[in-house]
């Protein structure tokens, strides 16, 4: 697979590294990986950087993942770029909200690298 420019949004720097590791284990050639600690930081980053894939937590300070999704759609940032939510919130309602807001995938924490591979790779094909 060709080089993928990824944006990982999570208020935990440890989780950002774990998600990055899982993406690399899935066989993705990440060049480069951008990181943001919340939705507001991610929006700023998207104004300046182009990405091919976004993975975002939901529960974050300043701007949560669902609002981040709504904002990138409203501002037409990263059009066509798949967004996958990676979060501890796993109810049907949360999944529905995320899909309605524009998410293309949903991964529940805790997760395995295999789950990340299964949910993310089809979106990049």
């Amino acid at each position: 697979m060709s080089e993928i420019r990824a944006l990982i949004v999570d208020d935990s720097s440890v989780m950002r590294k774990i998600v990055e590791r899982a993406l690399r284990q899935a066989g993705l050639d990440l060049q480069p990986v951008h990181e943001a600690g919340n939705g507001a930081e991610a929006l700023e980053l998207l104004k300046a950087k182009q990405v091919d894939l976004i993975l975002s937590d939901i529960n974050m300070p300043a701007m949560d993942g669902l609002e981040f999704l709504r904002q990138i759609r409203a501002r037409n940032l990263a059009p066509g770029v798949p967004v996958v939510m990676i979060t501890t919130e796993s109810s049907e309602e949360h999944v529905k909200q995320a899909i309605l807001a524009g998410a293309r995938g949903y991964i529940r924490k805790p997760f395995t690298a295999e789950q990340v591979k299964e949910r993310v790779l089809p979106l990049l094909a």
Partner: protein, 161 residues
């Protein structure tokens, strides 16, 4: 439609849900098996505690407490890096595990998963503190061990709709 969890309190307070939660999170995120142990958590001079609050249909908190050795082991397992002291990365990792414990625990009961929110984690260092809850509906406190380190997880519910 208003949601009442009172009829499900037996299921919510089932201690097996907490054991299953620990097994799931530690197996998937750290690749370790934890064994439940009786008795209180051995006191270390300094401790690390992460707290994630519950809000909505259930109010309360998930409290994840341990000594320094367990905190270092957990962060080391998460990141693949060896830590010598409790720095911001270690605190971040402990907080994130607490977040996953809280989310996985509430996910065991569908009504709770849908109608109970989580706060972002707060991490406390030091052991000179008390957790005060005026009239808890229920409280679960289990101690576990892995790789020679031990930790405790407390679920305290001080309100149920």
């Amino acid at each position: 439609m208003p949601v009442s969890l009172r009829e499900s309190v037996g299921l919510i307070a089932d201690p097996r849900n907490l054991d299953a939660t620990i097994e799931e999170v530690f197996d998937l995120m750290l690749g370790v098996h934890c064994t439940r142990e009786p008795g209180p958590l051995a006191q270390e001079p300094e401790a690390v505690t992460a707290v994630v609050g519950f809000g909505g249909a259930l109010s309360g908190a998930c409290v994840f407490s341990m000594g320094i050795s367990a905190a270092l082991a957990i962060a080391g397992r998460m990141t693949g890096v060896e830590f010598a002291e409790v720095d911001d990365i270690v605190k971040d990792g402990v907080g994130e595990i607490c977040n996953m414990l809280a989310g996985a625990w509430k996910g065991k009961v569908p009504e709770l998963a849908a109608h109970c929110g989580l706060s972002v984690p707060a991490v406390i260092t030091g052991s000179d503190y008390r957790l005060h809850v005026q009239a808890p509906e229920f409280q679960l406190r289990h101690r576990y061990r892995f790789d020679g380190a031990s930790f405790a997880v407390t679920i305290v519910c001080d309100g149920l709709r």
